[in-house]
Symmetry: C2
């Protein structure tokens, strides 16, 4: 079983703890705030209240034996996040992921040895923009710079037509890779698949292809 330490149980740290635990990871969740420790006690394998910048306390958590150590401290303490990250590396943690609040903070975290740095607010802000802009788009997720996954309601002009009929890859450079129908398991589409107004299409395409298609069809 994989083991992880998560330091800092704000929204991000707590959500990460829950997701890791849901995937069968043994999580030691740490925070100085008792309420926040309590809030994850039911899902984390262990929930402990201590200051992660206190070397003796952190050492007892055996970072060197964990597959993953995450420092999820946020606004509450930049110095605490830098110090905790540095200590985790010093103690031999094989993989340290640290949360940065801005580019300068990120640079410092890398300097003190974070293997990976994440900025949840920034990452989400980038992803949200696309989702908000195209009507019918339920979600749009960039994958690298060259691909986008879009979940989309079919425009009225597509309803009642088959995929073979619509020739989407040829006409709009978009490929439907799955169709979701409410109350039915998600399906891989075939050329004969007939689109209904309740469907959600899962599309892979280059960036901009789906908005362009929605403009042309409208």
């Amino acid at each position: 079983r994989k083991q992880a330490i998560v330091v800092g149980l704000g929204q991000f740290g707590a959500a990460l703890t829950r997701s890791l635990a849901a995937r069968g990871v043994e999580v030691l969740a740490v925070d100085t705030n008792e309420e926040r420790v309590q809030a994850v006690a039911a899902v984390a394998a262990h929930a402990a209240m201590f200051d992660a910048t206190e070397e003796a306390a952190l050492q007892r958590a055996a970072p060197e034996r964990r597959d993953l150590c995450v420092c999820a401290i946020g606004e509450a303490g930049r110095e605490a996040s830098i110090l905790t990250t540095a200590l985790l590396r010093q103690m031999g943690a094989p993989r340290v992921v640290a949360r940065a609040m801005d580019p300068l903070h990120e640079r410092i975290l890398r300097l003190v040895g974070a293997h990976e740095v994440v900025n949840p607010e920034r990452a989400f802000g980038e992803r949200l923009a696309s989702r908000l802009l195209t009507a019918g788009v339920i979600d749009e997720v960039p994958l690298g710079d060259d691909l986008v996954i879009t979940e989309l309601r079919p425009p009225p002009a597509f309803v009642g037509r088959t995929l073979a009929d619509l020739t989407l890859p040829k006409t709009y450079s978009v490929t439907v890779v799955a169709v979701r129908r409410p109350g039915a398991p998600v399906t891989m589409p075939t050329p004969a698949t007939l689109l209904t107004a309740e469907d959600i299409l899962v599309i892979v395409s280059p960036p901009g292809a789906v908005p362009a298609m929605m403009d042309r069809v409208a």
Copy 2:
């Protein structure tokens, strides 16, 4: 051209402003903090320093004429975020997206009329867990509860073999929807596609299928 107001230019609000502007949206970016207003002045169509809870000032920004209004105020002010959201709806903004810091805050934001509520830290925490756990996984993005998109390096056992050969959908319930090769445009795979160690496979599958496949193959 679409128009948006973004109130609150922390990491999330600033990143959202940049992404919207990059997509051709005319953004009015608002913050009480002069430095933060300055930081986006180059990318936002307009950057203004005022308190969004001041009714007269907010009214002058004409929320009713914008396609999208986002309240991205964070820890700095829950009351400010609630009040701003309420005012935007009162002034007839057709679409108000508000950022919540926790489930209670979310409930209140919906009560005062937010059309949509987002929690960047929580959303990102959920997505990060998967990415961190499976070796070779570059990114893993849930799409609803029934589908996952995974970007994955092929395990050694797959290198040099064709997709027809590997029968991935049948054997592991995973479908390769795109193959990325460094320095080449992303391609739709065919049964004859031969996998190399430099490839990145883009896979659609039910949750858990990719980790299960990586375990079986290892």
